[in-house]
Every structure is written in C-alpha cells, then in structure tokens.
C-alpha cells in the first residue's frame, strides 16, 4: 500500500516537474522571441538609408530659417537657411538609387556557372569556347558561344548558328548564350553606341570610362593588343570574388568565361568582327588584378 502511495507521489512530482519544465521552456521561448524582435528592429534601423531623412530634415529646417530670416531681417539666419536648404536638396538629389552588396552579385551568378560547367564536363566537350561575331547571328544584340566537342578550334557554319540550335552535329558542339551578354549590352547602352559600328581603338578609348566612371565595375582597366591577341587588365573589380570562384570550376574560366570576361569577349567580338577565344585568365597574388587574354581566330 505504502509502495503504491510512493509511486503515486513520485508520478505526481514528476508530472509537476514536467509542467514546470514546460513553463520554463515557454518563458524562455517568449524571452527569445522578444530578443529576436528587438534584434530585427535594430537590424532594420541599421539597414535603412538615413540620407533621405537627413535630407528632408535639412530642407525643412533650411526653409524655416529662410522664412524666419525674412521676418527678423537677419542676414545670418538667411545664410544658415540658404546653406541648410541647399545641402538638403543636394543630399536628396545625390542619394543612391539602389546599391546591392557584391556578395549578392557573386551568389546569384555562381550557380548558373556551376550548371554550365557540369553540362560541359558531363558531355566531355574539350574545346575552348568560341565567341561568334554578329554576322553569324540574326540579331546584333544577341551573341553566341560555341563549345566544340574536340579540342580543335572549328567554327560552325552560319546557317547552323542562325537556326538557334543548342546541340550542333557538324561540327559537334554546344551553342550557348554567353554569361556576359547583357553586361556587354549595358556597356553599349552606357556609351550610346553599337560595338558593331566601332573598332578595337574605340573600345580601348571608351571601355575604361564605362568600367571606371559609369558603372564603377573596376578601379582601372587597360586594353593592350598585339598580334591577334588582346589582353585586358582589370584592377579592383567588383567581380574579383566571382572570378576566383569561377576559376575553381572546370571548363569555365578559360573556356566559357565568367560574366565579366565573357562581357569583354562579346564586346571585342562585336568590335573586331572575328571569332574570339579566351586564351588565359590570371589573377594576381593580391587578388585585385585580373588579366585576361583573348585571341582572334
């Protein structure tokens, strides 16, 4: 009888303990949820752009000071008002439209490069990617890269390319859209000029301006050309991390090309009007300088 009582007491104690344990868990959960909400608010506060609020604040206080300066006939207030209004308007005017972090850029592009690398590796296509000039294509704004199955550099006939097939039989290979096509179209849009109507000299003189000033892709860009070889040196590029990731993938860096090298290849093939391959890509030990050499065929 006593044993039964003890067992009941033990069971009651255990259930009480269990209930208390559950209560503690719920309390802890509520505390953690509160902390999470507070952190989320803090993160939101840190992430939002304060320049807009500051701009409007300066503008309102500036206009107020100007109005007061007229009422009190105070030139000091007028100077303060002019200054605040001007800097308020300026802050609102020069506010960035939308900037994204470079890590986001890399993360969104790597997966598609991995997929292309896997396709080319699985098909066991050994040839270097050949960037085809616009005369092979229906539209000047499009572009194609032909990856031959053999390591010999063969160019497919114009008819096959213009049909838009992905898998070609004679010569055997893969016809893909370059990863830097839209980037190259953006360079044209920024310059207000179709590269088809230009030459290598035009690119040498104007592409650095787009890279450094307009799009701020890199800190510096140099284009040097030799005998059928064009070498492009890019310093301090926002794509340097992506380029480093692309180097780890088989058959991408020196064949298909990362978006940046690919965009330059597309621009070159449009300007020169000849098929182009990426001969080699090198990154300096400091990781800031990317040098890519292209060869015309």
């Amino acid at each position: 009888m006593r044993d039964v009582d003890n067992a009941e007491k033990l069971s009651l104690a255990r259930s009480e303990e269990s209930v208390q344990g559950q209560k503690r868990v719920v309390e802890r959960l509520q505390q953690l949820e509160g902390e999470r909400d507070a952190l989320r608010l803090e993160l939101w506060r840190l992430k939002r752009k304060p320049s807009g609020v500051i701009g409007y604040g300066l503008l309102v206080s500036g206009v107020t000071a100007l109005v007061l300066s007229i009422s009190f006939s105070s030139s000091i207030l007028a100077f303060i008002g002019l200054g605040l209004t001007f800097w308020g308007v300026l802050l609102l005017y020069i506010r960035p439209v939308r900037y994204v972090k470079a890590t986001l850029l890399d993360s969104s592009a790597v997966s598609s490069l991995v997929a292309i690398s896997r396709v080319i590796t699985d098909l066991n296509y050994a040839g270097k990617g050949i960037y085809l000039p616009p005369r092979y294509l229906k539209e000047f704004k499009s572009s194609s890269i032909f990856v031959p199955s053999e390591s010999t550099l063969v160019i497919p006939p114009v008819e096959d390319v213009s049909h838009g097939k992905v898998f070609l039989e004679d010569p055997k290979g893969l016809l893909l859209t370059p990863s830097g096509l839209d980037l190259a179209n953006l360079y044209e849009k920024e310059l207000g000029m179709d590269f088809v109507k230009t030459d290598l000299n035009y690119l040498r003189n104007n592409l650095p301006k787009v890279f450094i000033e307009s799009l701020e892709i890199a800190e510096d860009l140099e284009i040097n050309s030799g005998n059928e070889v064009v070498c492009v040196r890019i310093i301090g590029s926002v794509y340097q991390e992506l380029c480093r990731e692309a180097r780890k993938l088989p058959r991408i860096c020196n064949s298909f090309g990362c978006p940046l090298c690919s965009s330059i290849a597309v621009a070159l093939t449009r300007a020169i009007g000849k098929p182009i391959i990426i001969e080699r890509t090198e990154i300096n030990s400091d990781g800031k300088t990317i040098e890519t050499c292209f060869r015309t065929l």
Partner: protein, 70 residues
C-alpha cells in the same frame, strides 16, 4: 519684410559652396580610386558644375557692372 541678403552676399555664398562642391566631386571621383562611396557621383559632379557656373555668372555680372559704371 524683405530678404536680408543682397546679390553680392549670394554671389559670395555661391562661390564658397561651388569651391567646396567641386573639391568634393574631384576627391570622390572613381578615378581617384574611391569607388566605395555610395552616392550618385555623376549627379554630385553635375551639381558642383552648376554651382560653379552660377558663381561665375555672378562674378561676370559684377565685372560687367564695374565696367559699365566706370
């Protein structure tokens, strides 16, 4: 109830502002390697040039006034 600043006060203010803006625009130019400053640098340069031109116009007006009166 009149605006307390004269044309020459505004000319002086414009001149100082233009110098500050032009120097800033030059310092934050991508050619100086400062590509990590998140503002519209092209618009900043445009505003600096506008302030500079306005300042120069007030100076020209002043010179013209001196020539006419002398």
């Amino acid at each position: 109830m009149t605006f307390p600043l004269t044309f020459w006060d505004i000319s002086l203010w414009l001149g100082i502002t233009a110098i500050i803006l032009l120097a800033t625009a030059e310092l934050i130019s991508p050619y100086s390697g400062k590509t990590n400053i998140i503002i519209e640098k092209r618009k900043m340069r445009r505003a600096a040039l506008l302030a500079g031109i306005m300042s120069m116009m007030t100076v020209i007006a002043r010179i013209y006034g001196i020539i006419i009166t002398s």
